[in-house]
């Protein structure tokens, strides 16, 4: 994942209800609710940041070492990828 990460916008619809980000998988009709760190990461996936840049940004925001949050970030990116919400070029 050295290339910038981008959303596959044709795969989902997004809305916010009472501060909670909700994604609908358009093909399957299933919902994903993003809260906490996931809700913070999601808007950072904007087609300009690589995984490393995301880690650095999260570490800066939360005052943590990138290594400490890498596992959580990777797990979330894997979930997004499985759902088809990430554009792999």
């Amino acid at each position: 994942m050295t290339a910038p990460l981008a959303k596959r916008t044709a795969a989902f619809s997004e809305t916010t209800v009472e501060g909670e980000i909700v994604l609908l998988n358009l093909a399957e009709g299933t919902f994903f609710s993003l809260t906490g760190t996931a809700a913070a990461i999601w808007p950072l996936i904007d087609g300009t940041r690589t995984r490393t840049a995301l880690l650095d940004e999260l570490a800066r925001r939360y005052g943590d070492e990138p290594g400490a949050i890498a596992a959580d970030l990777d797990a979330f990116l894997a979930q997004l990828s499985t759902a088809g919400f990430l554009d792999h070029g």
Binding site: S13, T15, V17, E18, G19, E20, V22, L24, L26, G29, F31, S33, T35
Partner: protein, 288 residues
Amino acid sequence: MSVSAINHPGPALLAREATARYGPVPRALGGKPIGPGAMLLNEDSFLLHSGTGYGLFYRQGEGVTIERDPAADPAEEELWLNGSVYAAIAAINGFLPFHASAVAWQGRVHAFSGPSGAGKSTLVAALGGHGLPLFCDDTLVLDVSKPDQVLCLPGHKRLKLAPDALALTGASAQERVAAVVDKHYAKPAGGTLQEVLPLAELVFLEDGAPPGFARIEGARKIARLNDDHYTHDLFAAARDEDNAVRFARIAGIASRIAMQRLVRPRDLACFAEVTAQVAGHIKESALS
């Protein structure tokens, strides 16, 4: 609290569109044949064949046509007209039918949703004993077109209760609903209210203990609204909505509605206590 009636064209429009006459009913809609026990909504039209001797066809602006087999139970006619057909008429004319029963208090509607058998009708009938008039039974028709609030159209169905619910709620029994339905029409102790009113809250009934209310927030509101598949499917079919538009619509409604879970034991010994608790909740919410 000062309460003023809302002048809304919905009730008259739906009453006009639901006007029924007898006549031949088509066997297909949009080229698709409809067999017994099936129904189909196609933009401005709805066709249903009951499988019990009834065919019903609605087209926007033309009302409802009923074809009845001589052997069919005449009492079923009202059930079909006020059930699936009315929900389809509401959807085709821009309203969202929702599976809920409701009472009104201080100019706002408190609606209770849940699957068939969850106790919606029994609860709203019993709330009549606490001075809360019935607003609707089983189907709540919503006007979701306003950006700032959700409006409720008054109920079109008579309250129906099973014999045990009649005994439990103090509602007065009238005639039996139909030969194959072990329920009676009933008059609730709190009377009924026929005005367009804003929705105060949507409460989802759940079995469990201890009894109590819990707020539903965020994405869970969307999931709860989306659970009422049948009515949302009708509404979406009437508009030819795709998944994204439907999602945006439901999310928009979710952000305008207060939602709660009401967990309570399905135990007759607790029913009066839980009903009193619900009545207290409604009356207190009017003060806040």
